[in-house]
Amino acid sequence: MAQESETVAEARRQMEICNACRYCEGYCAVFPAMAMRRAFTAADLTHLANLCHGCKGCYHACQYAPPHPFGVNIPLTFAELRQEGYARHAWPAPMGRLFARNGTVVSLFAAAGVALALILAAALQDPAVLYAAQTGTGAFFRIIPYWLMVSLATLTFGYGVVAMAMGARNYWRETGGLGGALSPAGAGEAAVDILTMRNLGGGGHGCNDVDDGFSQRRRWLHQALFLGFMLCFAATTTGALYHHLLGWKSPHAFLSLPVELGTWGGVLMLIGAAGLMQTKIITDPGPVSRKVLGGEFAMLGLLFLIAATGLLLLALRHTGAMGVMLALHLGLVFAFFLVMPYSKMVHGLYRGIALLRNAKEKRTRPVAASA
């Protein structure tokens, strides 16, 4: 085991204060999970940090928050601990270093992806085709050939999925996974927690999105982004099924299933990504780690641009701008696939595992002595 980082030591110091106080037990899953322990190994802290949804309720309620000398700031400390974990679990291992400069890397990948797509499009087509309005079946493939689009998509998406799965495996190994078999009831509870993001509810009334007042703003915006993302994914999948099973080639009509799914998904993604970025800008900076902000803004920005270019592509697909727009959109999407395993996107996997483990622990571990 490598030497523990300062963040691990700091998280342990803070958890030991929290475990003697326990005022926050009603806020989220972190504090009852903490109360099941009397000592905190690095693996315990990784688990607790990934269980934390960053709702910031505990910071605003904390009698020991800065400027108190104890300086307890769980949302900030756990965000940094998560970030260190993302880097440690990344596959292949050297790529973990990208997390340290996550914002820059995401931006560079996106820029490179777009440039590559544009160059390819331009190189493969003579300008007359690229800038001419294309209509009818197979219009997209006259810009970027079908074989190229599919191979790039398969390669980048496949890489992203494999790398994320390997990262999850590393996380699982380090934290001990679920620590045993999970009952169906436990799995059901964890599934509800994941889908409803109950732990962004601050115990029912919402979390401290902006200041010491409560709201459900981030929860709704995240749901919009997540749902939008899944709708877009469904749109692409439907499109592929149409192509291969039914022989219906794109572009599809506006009222067709793939276009409807993609349109509404794109709109939800725009709302979610823009809203989350705005919330990050206006929120009280006290419980926010500046170290992770760059990567978070870059990822939200990338998702926003993917949705925006997708919708623009739809709007301009009968015009001469379609070619460039298609290249832009595909470039961003492929860049996203490549950068996904080294971005905030991994949080969903690790948090899912943490919630599953928590459901298991709640059913098997007793709470350490309480007052």
């Binding site: 030991e16 204060i17 475990n19 003697a20 106080c21 326990r22 005022y23 926050c24 037990e25 009603g26 806020y27 009397r38 309720g57 505990c58 605003h60 309620a61 904390c62 009698q63 020991y64 928050a65 800065p66 400027p67 108190h68 000398p69 115990g203 029912g204 009334h205 010491d212 007042g213 409560f214 709470v367 350490a368 002595a369 309480s370 007052a371």
Partner: protein
């Protein structure tokens, strides 16, 4: 910038629960209200910042309280802890009004924890604030601001201009600048004097230097002293305070709740001379924690040492600071500066006196000593399994009991027995009216809420007429 040239209807001195309940109530009744909070914004809220619950009368289960807790039981509990040193009329009024306190606080945005949590032994009598006292304080300030109460942080009320029981203006230090605030009615909610070591030293001498102040360092008693010096009637024993067994290594001020140790029932506790001085297992800890601060304050050097062994480690809450640990009693004594031979003998005598029994951490079990002075009545197990542990203890003072006399309408009483024309009080500054000695968990917040509401409503009513 707040306008200090105008005359406000009501000035509230203080910034904790009692002050905010008064300010909100006065504002809701139509008065213009200014709150002078000595602390900066980040440290606002007085001792309320460190609290967790409030004791409330209720006839049946509510969303946040289990079972029922009626007036006679509440009164009996209060009578027992105060040894009868209370004002029955005021106390019963407060107990009856406590029934409405949780709903009032909810109307101010305070969120209570659902009563489901089985681990809290107080869930029948006490309603718990979700997130604790600072979350409550945040909600109260948001409500006050929304209603248009003017909040002045970093503003210490230093003197009240008072003539024949009628107050006209306050001399304050506002963000370091001298200023005056004129008002028609004054509400004193500025707490006790526990953070004023010079004042404590008057009663406790040098021992006061060894006390830890658990809560806000801003409770310096300036308003209390000023009022008492100007002919306001005093109430409560100046030497009395609420104090608990704190970790000796805690910060001297503002260490808060997490510094308290609940290992006493599962330990033997000796003083600096290696002598036991009180029955550690007299009763369950929620009924005994409030006497141990004072017990330790009376020991030489205001120090005590809870000695226990590996068996007991998981019977109490994990402490913030790790205990001293050693494989022998003598080794442990050397670490903490006690006479090793003396501590070995105390432990040996105790071990010899322990009678067999069935240990149960959460209930009054039958593990006790026989022939030992003082006895250990419950949870007495031999200290024989290394490593041996020591948690060093000091008195942690929560608040002092000396206060201003009030009547049942929260009106401050003058030394000549007449009520003041326009001064009211709520919270720790007047809790000595009801708490002559001892303490009931969550009762301070009850007094603050009940008298805060009354003071605010009465002050607004006075101003309107």
């Amino acid at each position: 910038m707040a306008d200090l040239s105008r005359t406000y209807d009501v000035l509230v001195a203080g910034g904790g629960n009692a002050a905010l309940c008064a300010a909100i109530s006065a504002r809701r009744a139509g008065a213009s209200v200014v709150v002078a909070e000595h602390a900066p914004r980040a440290m606002r809220g007085g001792n309320s910042r460190h609290t967790r619950n409030l004791r409330a009368l209720h006839a049946g289960p509510t969303g946040v309280l289990t079972g029922s807790y009626l007036e006679e039981e509440y009164w009996d509990d209060l009578y027992r802890v105060t040894g009868g040193r209370t004002d029955e009329a005021l106390a019963r009024m407060c107990i009856r009004a406590s029934e409405h306190a949780p709903a009032f606080l909810e109307s101010c945005g305070v969120v209570f924890q659902p009563s489901l949590s089985g681990t809290l032994s107080l869930s029948r009598t006490n309603a718990f604030f979700l997130g604790g006292g600072k979350a409550l304080v945040n909600a109260l300030y948001r409500t006050a601001e929304r209603l248009g109460v003017v909040i002045l942080y970093d503003t210490e009320v230093q003197h009240i201009a008072l003539k024949d029981g009628f107050a006209t203006e306050a001399v304050v230090s506002h963000r370091g600048f001298p200023a005056r605030i004129r008002f028609k009615a004054f509400i004193a909610s500025a707490g006790g004097f526990q953070a004023n070591r010079d004042w404590l030293r008057k009663y406790w001498g040098e021992a006061a230097d060894n006390f830890q102040i658990r809560g806000t360092p801003y409770a310096r008693g300036r308003v209390l002293r000023d009022l008492l010096d100007q002919g306001v009637q005093e109430v409560g024993d100046a030497t009395q305070f609420h104090a608990v067994a704190n970790d000796a290594r805690a910060p001297t001020e503002d260490g808060g709740l997490a510094m308290r140790l609940d290992c006493v029932p599962f330990s033997i506790v000796v003083n600096r001379d290696g002598e036991r001085f009180y029955d550690e297992g007299e009763d369950v800890w929620p009924k005994r924690y409030a006497i141990w601060g004072r017990l330790i304050a009376q020991q030489p050097g205001q120090m005590a040492f809870a000695i226990t062994d590996a068996k007991a480690r998981t019977d109490y809450l994990p402490p913030v600071f790790p205990p001293h640990a050693a494989d022998t009693i003598a080794g442990l004594a050397a670490q903490i500066g006690l006479d090793p031979a003396r501590l070995e003998k105390v432990v040996a005598d105790y071990n010899a006196a322990v009678r067999p029994g069935t240990f149960s951490a959460q209930t009054l079990d039958d593990c006790r000593t026989e022939g030992l002075v003082p006895p250990k009545s419950h949870w007495a197990r031999r200290i024989d399994t290394p490593p041996y542990y020591c948690h060093p203890l000091r008195p942690g003072i929560t608040f002092t009991f000396l206060g201003v006399k009030v009547n049942e309408r929260a009106r401050i009483m003058m030394a000549d027995g007449r009520p003041s024309a326009n001064m009211f009080a709520s919270g720790e500054i007047m809790s000595g009216n009801i708490l002559g000695q001892g303490y009931l968990a969550g009762f301070g917040m009850t007094i603050g809420t009940v008298f805060g509401r009354i003071a605010g409503e009465e002050a607004a009513k006075l101003v309107r007429n």
